[in-house]
Symmetry: C2
Subunit: 225 residues, 2 copies
């Protein structure tokens, strides 16, 4: 069985796990803390990112983009509609939103929240900087407004069908939700969208996650949140 | 003919132009300044990034990842080895390095240099912050060491054949070289690699670029630099 090096709250690793669950591919999960930059980990990935997919006899597949594209290529069932649309224009819109989430949302929100709430605490028993969290929160409000506007005008994030972009956003929002950073009362259509995607069987793998010493925020695992 | 919205020094737009030139696809270039955030531009791309590929009757293809994948899908000649390797493990290594360049190198070097040297000057007649440029320069030294180590152990950045990862790095380094930020004397094998890729006919399109009021650094357009 393949092994996935991950951290339970890393959004790109969550995206990879969602895809594997959706495609029915079992993997062994091996938890690491990328920020510790352990030598044997840096040797596989000098960028110190997860996920990393390890398979017997194959060289490791390293980093979010390589792992996500590798899972899609190897495991997407050819007979049914997968997570990547067949139509070129729909694919372009999906990649635009995929890049929005893994690039912009991560840069402006998720990575700050993880750094302040998880990495700092783990590395030095430090406490989050409230000024940084305030900026991340303000940025998140803008992002949520945009997602809500999109979800009000289409069925799914990138169009009429569920795609990889939905999984990417769900992965990020589920990390932020675990840490109690999503105000669902104000989330409008994004809340309905998240409720639909959270009900998928593939999502169960994420809802059982627990980080030692940091239980999930109330409602994290409830389908009726 | 398709139109490409770009800025001459934007590295992702340079990558798209290199690909189009390599595949022999002519496009009309339309220069914009993404940082001005003009309403009609934000309407096409709320993320305010380039490149954007506009084609009659098709919806716009928006943002680096969507444009690059769209060009590869539509224009890569099926009969010859394109920029994406056929072997899965080679593709994975290519995407790792592609992500390194568009993610890590951009985050730690290119975007700071562009912000300080181009955006600030244009927006308010401001001057670069030397402290920021110093950090970007120190980061670039680390990146160059890594690229040089890779180039000393393989033919091209991601393996034995030239791939999209080479074009991605060449696009970034050419932007930094235009602005005089590369110390070629210390670049070792990366210099040999750059010399090879700079000699490709596709590269000519970049070497003729001129930004008004900011001529390229000495050696920028020379094949023997």
């Amino acid at each position: 069985m393949a092994r996935l090096l991950h951290h339970p709250l890393d959004p790109s690793a969550r995206l990879a796990r969602l895809m594997l669950a959706e495609y029915g591919i079992p993997v062994d999960l091996e938890e690491i803390k990328p920020w510790l930059r352990q030598p044997e980990f840096l040797e596989i990935n000098p960028a110190a990112t997860v996920p990393i997919l390890l398979d017997h006899a194959e060289p490791p597949v390293v980093g979010p983009l390589a792992v996500i594209l590798n899972i899609e290529e190897r495991f997407a069932p050819p007979s049914v509609a997968g997570l990547v649309p067949a139509l070129s224009s729909e694919r372009a819109e999906m990649w635009r939103m995929f890049e929005w989430v893994l690039g912009k949302l991560n840069d402006e929100v998720t990575r700050y929240v993880l750094e302040e709430k998880i990495v700092k605490r783990d590395r030095q028993g430090g406490t989050p900087d409230p000024a940084v969290l305030r900026i991340a929160k303000a940025n998140l409000v803008e992002h949520m407004n945009y997602f809500t506007w999109l979800c009000a005008t289409r069925n799914w994030l990138a169009g009429e069908n569920m795609t990889l972009a939905d999984f990417a956003l769900a992965a990020h929002l589920s990390t932020l939700d675990y840490l109690g950073d999503i105000d669902w009362e104000k989330a409008g259509e994004t809340r309905d969208w998240y409720s639909r995607i959270k009900s998928r069987p593939a999502f169960r793998t994420l809802l059982n996650d627990r980080v030692v010493g940091m239980p999930p925020h109330r409602g994290y695992a409830d389908l009726d949140f």
